[in-house]
Symmetry: C2
Subunit: 171 residues, 2 copies
Amino acid sequence: MTRETAKVSAEGHPLGFAQHDHSTCMNDALAAADARCEEDGLRFTPVRRKVLEILLQDHRALGAYAILDKLREDGFGSQPPIAYRALDFLVANGLAHKIERLNAFIACADTNHAHTPAFMICRLCNAVAEELSSSARNALHEVARATGFKIERTIIEAEGICPSCINKTES
Amino acid sequence: MTRETAKVSAEGHPLGFAQHDHSTCMNDALAAADARCEEDGLRFTPVRRKVLEILLQDHRALGAYAILDKLREDGFGSQPPIAYRALDFLVANGLAHKIERLNAFIACADTNHAHTPAFMICRLCNAVAEELSSSARNALHEVARATGFKIERTIIEAEGICPSCINKTES
DNA sequence: AGACGAAATGTAATAACATGACAAGAGAGA
DNA sequence: TCTCTCTTGTCATGTTATTACATTTCGTCT
Ligand SMILES: [Zn+2]
Ligand SMILES: [Zn+2]
Ligand SMILES: [Zn+2]
Ligand SMILES: [Zn+2]
């Protein structure tokens, strides 16, 4: 998690490893979150909003303590529960996801989908892409039904090398 | 991870949540590990063997420090690296798996298969079943190919309630 | 407006998980 | 036997996450 953490939209790959207008992407996500919380009667407080903003800065997973550092810089509290509570809220309401492989968190790339997506994690540049359709999840439910196991949550993560990094190493 | 950690083969569910002869299961696994290490020129040292035995005690995931406690009881070293190194060995050679969701480890239920299975984790009794065929993994590889992402490892875990615990709560 | 209860935050302390670094020992091959 | 490599012992430290409790904020009811 000591990798550079600056914005990288300019160099190309994040958000599904595809180039995109990042400021738009970020504004849209925040607006969607605002709307969503309004609608559901959730309290989108300053810390919670700030944490989502931090996560939206880049499409990478950030550890709770990295988030905490940024919160401190912006004058928020700096004890672990501050970050963990905000993250719990965001995760519980589908605005962020936890990447178990990394013990880290990422902003949701599309708050308008049926949740529990799959993630693809680049071990070189740390970018994380959210795969929404996820036929893998369906396959998993199939298996579970056969076993009599009642699934409450699925964790599907692939670790490897993203298209952008493949190109770099080939050159 | 503070749940009771005693053997439970008698009460039924683990190992794919199915009843089975646990002492046979354990002996077979150790024998297979012996053979495997012999064959591949790996050094199946006392600590490594002991850690595998500990994991085989029950089909539950155990944290590294829980393992460490048991190692201490049996007169082995008790510093974290002792356990982590043995676990690294077992995982690297397919004799154990790490459950990312729990930050814990489990003995492999079948050393004779092509690895990276899916896991089903019971949140009530902490039992973990290893799903070998895993069509979910294939589905994931499909998606990755389409994206140009090169998968090196997959993590597929389902959290929920096992058949045995479903029965208990219904009664 | 004032009182109240629920939700959110501030803060200190601690638990749980994991690695780095280096010295000492055991094993395999020249 | 020498030497190289892998393994183990041990101390120290780093990273991730939770418990506990006091305080504040906010909506709701009177
Ligand atoms: Zn999402
Ligand atoms: Zn990459
Ligand atoms: Zn296995
Ligand atoms: Zn169960």
